[in-house]
Symmetry: C2
């Protein structure tokens, strides 16, 4: 229903109707509409985390190729699940309402993971070691996040450009290094 109607189109009443239950039955399983959305977003983080793990497990790939693949997969994950991505990182949960403790427990480690990978890539010479690790991971993540949002919101970029944009971003991240 999230995929079809979008995050704003998802109404508790229509959802209850579709399940064949009364409007307020949902309140015995979730505190809020917000709590329901947080639970969905939570699943999104778990799934993405699992997908990311498979990248790093591929021994055949060089470190630079892993970075490239990571960027590509991130953008495609967002582009393939636009509504879910919006839920995971959008203002609906993070600004407007408050994220559940359960959601935070899943999301924050995911952010932390990004920082650790950045540190590792810096040590390997894939990312520039001169930059502060935290700032660099904020910027690289910001780049992926920004591209994902431009795609999702349909501003100024569309699906057919994804591969080229990822390639370009990866170049920017790694252009300092001699090892390609």
């Amino acid at each position: 229903m999230l995929q079809e109607m979008g995050i704003e189109g998802l109404s508790l009443r229509k959802l209850a109707d579709a399940v064949g239950v009364s409007r307020t039955a949902l309140y015995h399983h979730f505190k809020d509409k917000n709590a329901l959305l947080c639970a969905i977003a939570e699943q999104g983080f778990v799934r993405w985390r699992a997908q990311a793990e498979t990248i790093f497990a591929q021994d055949a790939l060089s470190n630079t190729e892993k970075l490239r693949q990571f960027v590509r997969d991130y953008i495609y994950y967002a582009a393939d699940n636009p509504q879910l991505y919006e839920l995971m990182f959008g203002r609906t949960i993070w600004k407007n309402a408050q994220p559940t403790d359960e959601l935070k427990a899943v999301a924050y480690p995911s952010f932390q993971h990004q920082v650790e990978m950045t540190r590792k890539w810096q040590k390997l010479g894939v990312l520039p070691a001169t930059e502060d690790t935290l700032r660099l991971s904020q910027v690289t993540w910001g780049t992926m996040h920004g591209i994902a949002r431009l795609l999702i919101d349909g501003i100024y970029a569309d699906r057919s450009h994804i591969d080229e944009m990822c390639e370009c971003a990866t170049h920017l991240f790694t252009q300092h290094s001699t090892l390609k």
Copy 2:
């Protein structure tokens, strides 16, 4: 009201009440709530465009410094007007509803401007000339957009990091070049 209550908190009825007029009076001036939001967003583009122009008019700055300033100003503009920025680039207008023709007439040239500046900076050696101009401008803008949104939505970054993040991003953009 947008600044105080946020984009979702802005209701036509409360707005009409605050102005001291009846609920539907607004419909004689704007087709929709969406049309009103588009008009506000439009102003946001005009103001940002004006601010950007002043950067490029400063002859005292080198080209690299202009890029740095451009990035900084963009992020601060977003951070200082979070609700407005959300309106300008958020899904509320671009995905969920449809942007007005008037808004498109202001927004698209703004995107185009970004591409032209990218091309110019490539020729000047500030940005890498090896990348396709369109892709590069999508990625650089994506970076700024992404950082802006992480800040606005309060995810994983806050105001006190802005300067350092901008510096880091500028480094990434320009690290290829020998002229610093």
